[in-house]
């Protein structure tokens, strides 16, 4: 289904289109959330709320301001960050790292999940330490680039170029797998 059709269907409150959206994007969107919010139950709660929000706010989505996936991923990411910073989670003292994430996925039972998790290590293995650090803080801990810059005293421009470099590595690996 073309993105235009998809958006039109969502705006028409069409059930089939919403199911299509779910089937195509739920995994990726849930990944955005669950790498920030590590607790499965809370992550699913955030995902539920975010997905419902997406279908309700689709009227206000402006195609000229960016593509659909980016818009949806940002809704999920922001909800996850909000949740992470709310008292509820910060008290549990959980910190997320890439290793936790990979390990967490590998430890889950069921062949489906094992297959799902196969690419993660491969995707990230070629990142150097600087890039890994950036991916960890921005992708997994929900930091903004300016927060990384301030907290770790890295110039803003350097953070930007590392974000760029890291995503370029991921881009190459994604294309290869």
């Amino acid at each position: 289904m073309e993105e235009v059709q998809l958006i039109a269907g969502l705006r028409a409150k069409d059930r089939k289109t919403t199911e299509y959206l779910y089937d195509k994007y739920s995994r990726a969107l849930y990944a955005v959330i669950s790498r920030i919010v590590f607790d499965k139950d809370i992550a699913e709660e955030v995902f539920h709320d975010s997905f419902v929000k997406i279908t309700r706010k689709i009227e206000r989505y402006d195609e000229s301001k960016g593509r659909l996936y980016t818009w949806m991923a940002n809704i999920c990411r922001n909800s996850a960050i909000d949740k992470l910073r709310s008292k509820e989670i910060s008290q549990s003292g959980k910190t997320n790292t890439i290793d936790d994430f990979v390990y967490g996925m590998e430890s889950q039972s069921g062949t489906q999940e094992q297959i799902d998790g196969i690419g993660v290590k491969e995707l990230m293995i070629e990142l150097n330490d600087d890039q890994k650090f950036i991916v960890e803080y921005i992708y997994f801990k929900g930091y903004t680039h300016s927060e990384v810059s301030e907290e770790f005293d890295i110039p803003l421009g350097t953070v930007k170029s590392r974000v760029r470099a890291a995503i370029q590595v991921l881009k190459k690996n994604v294309a290869r797998i």
Binding site: R15, Y22, Y30, V32, V52, A73, T144
Partner: protein, 274 residues
Amino acid sequence: MDIQSYISSGKLELFLLGELTEREREEVLSLAMMHPEIQKELDELEETMFSFDNMTGVAPSQEVKDKIFSTLENEFILKEAPKPTAAPADTKVVPIGSPWKPFAIAASIAAIVASGAAFYYADKYQKRNDQFTALLQDQSVMADNLNQVKQEFEEADSRLDKFVAGDFKRIEMKGEGFDMQKDARVDVLWDQNAQEVFIAVNNLNDLSDDLDYQLWAIGDDGPVGIGLVNSGEKLTLQQMQAVAQAGAFAITIEPKGGSKSPTLEKLVVLGEVA
């Protein structure tokens, strides 16, 4: 601008991560529109982020899917969607009760509602438009009035300047000595240096349409006509023609438009320069 260095600045990645300010977002969007390379990079990066998320993620549980769809259940308008594979090539008569029916009904209702709304708003628009036009007209009338007032003010202001700066002599012309209008009175204000003459009508009878009052400056060369007097404009200053030398001023009644020399039988007022 250097598109490559813009692309490699990291700004596009931050755009996708939702970390730019509104102003920076606008910048990225408008540059992407102007430069296909930027749009292409943006699309590829989004695709990468989606693939990365999709490849590294696990599917959320069936329970959360059920929960989402039960939350949304009441919000779906089209509960049964058309098959996405319906190709126009094998178009056939759609039997009643096909999955298209609710869609068609919904579409018809939407169309009716939309047309209704369109008429309603078109009417509203027309009314607003009329009001707007009327306001524009009012505004232009007011602007004209304002201009006129401004012009009058400027004239009055420049007259005032003249009176303040000039050396005006006031000559009272009275009708007492003549038969025409005993109670007539008109004042002449004369600045001999600037040669400027104003008159202020205090009391003058109205004339029939075929007659005019004419002001005369009587000097060494005899009377010289220096303009027609508007008897209707009481107590405002009327500027007359320039006079350098005069011993007296007088007003006579003349045929419409004035005469070359005064009709002395119809002398109304006279005032001598002191």
